[in-house]
């Protein structure tokens, strides 16, 4: 069965699923159309997608009625020079200018972009909450000029996650600004479902304002006396299937029991699929079948 055939068998997910952009080559239109039908969105990268990718996204979005989800990795110049958030000099202005230029390139699809996910994982060079908030606000203000419908999602701005080196076992998020525009997020990147549920709880997920990131084709596994690096394979099949079911809220037992099934409170989901290879696809199939409460996932495993 081809990749396209497999995608055609999958039901549409119940909630909106944004996704990591497809690394080159951008998928063919029929493939992208199926992906958009299932997830409800076409993924683009502000920094890496090419003009033809934007045109393809427009075509698919028009054909399917889906929106477009953009992912951006801002302040790369500041990150490379490890400049603190309190820096407002030339590098900052260049980064913001670059951000604005790229936003302008999205003019053909500006009314179709529903979300911009700001990946600030590589820009953790400052623990000054006020300065960080100001930098983030600069992005929000600029985005609003070019993408009037888009809602911001913040990725890794100070995520709740495990940290084996701390006394509590959890990473400190004291430096994170208390609140600003947009949705928060958390990474459900661990091989154990109970860990992912706890991360979501601790990230304020029960308030329905936290977007969980679900990995496809890799995750953190236990190694030695702690956790290893993010690597293949993905989560155990049962856990990924369960995550699909719980996140998409498709069983009465899930919907009626937030304490036991906290992931059901996710407003939408972000799929982190490493698209350089097809390794993400089996996990995507399992996840989608779990979301539909289809036992066939067992056979697919």
């Amino acid at each position: 069965m081809t990749l396209l055939d497999q995608l055609k068998t999958l039901p549409k997910l119940q909630k909106l699923h944004l996704g990591w952009y497809f690394q080159p080559p951008f998928p063919q239109l029929d493939l992208l159309t199926e992906f958009a039908r299932i997830t409800g969105s076409v993924p683009l990268s502000l920094e890496w997608s090419l003009p033809e990718d934007v045109r393809a996204a427009f075509t698919v979005a028009q054909a399917t009625g889906c929106g477009i989800g953009v992912t951006s990795q801002p302040y790369q110049g500041m990150g490379k020079q490890t400049l603190p958030a309190s820096s407002w000099g030339d590098v900052f202005r260049a980064d913001l200018s670059n951000f604005e230029v790229r936003l302008a390139c999205l003019a053909p699809v500006k009314d179709l972009v529903t979300h911009v996910t700001f990946d600030v994982e590589q820009w953790h060079v400052s623990t000054d909450p006020k300065s960080i908030a100001a930098k983030y606000q600069a992005l929000i203000d600029t985005m609003a000029k070019y993408l009037p419908r888009a809602q911001a999602i913040w990725y890794a701005k100070g995520e709740v996650t495990l940290n084996g080196g701390s006394p509590t076992g959890w990473k400190s998020t004291d430096y994170v600004p208390e609140s600003f525009t947009g949705l928060d997020s958390c990474g459900l990147y661990f091989s154990e479902h109970g860990v992912n549920q706890e991360i979501f709880r601790r990230s304020g997920g029960l308030d329905e304002l936290t977007v969980p990131f679900v990995p496809m084709g890799g995750c953190y596994h236990r190694a030695g006396s702690s956790w290893g690096k993010f690597s293949a394979p993905g989560m155990p099949t049962e856990n990924l299937w369960l995550m699909g079911l719980e996140l998409n809220n498709q069983h009465p037992s899930v919907a009626g029991n937030v304490e036991r099934f906290p992931l059901s409170r996710a407003p939408l989901v972000y799929l982190y699929h490493e698209t350089a290879t097809d390794a993400w696809l089996p996990d995507f199939v399992t996840y989608c079948l779990g979301a539909a409460n289809q036992q066939a996932a067992k056979a697919a495993a």
Binding site: P167, T168, E192, E198, R222, G224, E259
Partner: protein, 337 residues
């Protein structure tokens, strides 16, 4: 590498004693331990196991003297203690007697227990009995009558303490916080058993090494219940050795956790890294440095395990027993870091 060489490759014993259920599970054989121990290959393996665990497994109900003699002989010079396992109310269980029943079936069980205590204590002259696991899991036909149930347990407790006053008495299945898929939280809460002298050593079942985080949660919830509320002093982890419980498709819902893999060979099994990490958490003294991060290691005096079928798995390289036990020992000493 063979199982034997793997075992020999671990220099130091586990930092705490590692007792286990008896070997007598050779299917259909009342004296299965004797049969298994009759082979020289297994005896060589078992001696290494005794060196590392420092616990001699023996059934108070069914063990035979011949196998005990073999095991104690293999343990010569190894600083071992005997760990007894006892199922005191088999007749009551078979006839589904309630906790407040004191009739003929109770008398049958009582007499059998007294008889076996007298017999086995005679065999164990010169041996130290470190712990006795009282398995009452199968006999929980009434959890409403707490007083009657406690009285039944007290009968057993008094007999055992009289025979082996220094042994730790662990009631298995009396009060462990356990997964229970029927609750909102997935954690059952066996609160029916209140504080008493019977619970100096509380137990907690840890059969889910597929997800260590859940084991940590179980342990911490048991600590709150047993130590903080019931004033138990110690927590004894009951771990699986060669099988585990994992999440499954078919059991969701209503059961979130899944099926016990009682025959694990051929099945996808837990990540060996989990066994390694479990060994670190349970045995290594440095794991106490961050009590919120790891198990409350200092409250664990020793560990007890259900090994599955010894004869099928112990001597098989790559079998779940092999994988789990070796990795657990390696993790206890952090040998792979």
């Amino acid at each position: 590498m063979s199982v034997l060489s793997d075992l020999q490759g671990i220099t130091d014993p586990l930092q705490k004693r590692f007792f286990s259920a008896p070997i007598l599970n050779a299917e259909g054989h009342a004296n299965g331990d004797e049969i298994i121990l009759a082979t020289s290959d297994f005896r060589a393996l078992f001696q290494q196991y005794l060196r590392l665990s420092r616990g001699i497994p023996f059934s108070l109900n069914d063990g035979v003297q011949a196998s005990l003699d073999i095991m104690t002989g293999l343990a010569t010079g190894l600083d071992c203690q005997v760990g007894l396992t006892c199922s005191p109310y088999r007749t009551m269980e078979a006839n589904s007697r309630a906790a407040d029943y004191w009739g003929a079936d109770f008398n049958t069980d009582y007499d059998a227990l007294v008889s076996r205590i007298n017999t086995v204590s005679g065999w164990l002259t010169g041996q130290t009995v470190g712990m006795i696991l009282v398995d009452i899991e199968g006999w929980r036909t009434s959890v409403d009558d707490v007083a009657a149930m406690k009285a039944k347990h007290k009968v057993v407790y008094d007999l055992l303490v009289a025979a082996w006053p220094t042994a730790a008495i662990v009631f298995y299945g009396a009060h462990s916080v356990q997964y229970y898929s029927g609750t909102d939280t997935i954690f059952g809460n066996n609160e029916y058993y209140d504080s008493s002298e019977l619970l100096t050593y509380a137990s907690v079942r840890m059969y889910e090494p597929a997800e260590l985080y859940l084991i940590q949660q179980l342990f911490q919830k048991t600590v709150k219940l047993a130590i903080d509320k019931r004033k138990s002093t110690y927590i004894v982890p009951i771990v699986s050795l060669g099988w585990n419980v994992k999440r499954g498709f078919d059991q969701y819902p209503p059961s979130i956790i899944g099926t016990e893999l009682s025959d694990p060979i051929g099945h996808e099994f837990y990540n060996p890294e989990n066994s390694y990490q479990l060994g670190y958490m349970l045995f290594n003294p440095t794991a106490t440095a961050a009590p919120n991060r790891f198990l409350l290691n200092s409250k664990i005096p020793f560990v007890y395990s259900y090994p599955g079928a010894w004869d099928q798995y112990v001597a098989t390289p790559g079998s779940p027993w092999h994988t789990h036990f070796i990795r657990m020992c390696q993790g206890a000493h952090r040998l792979l870091e």
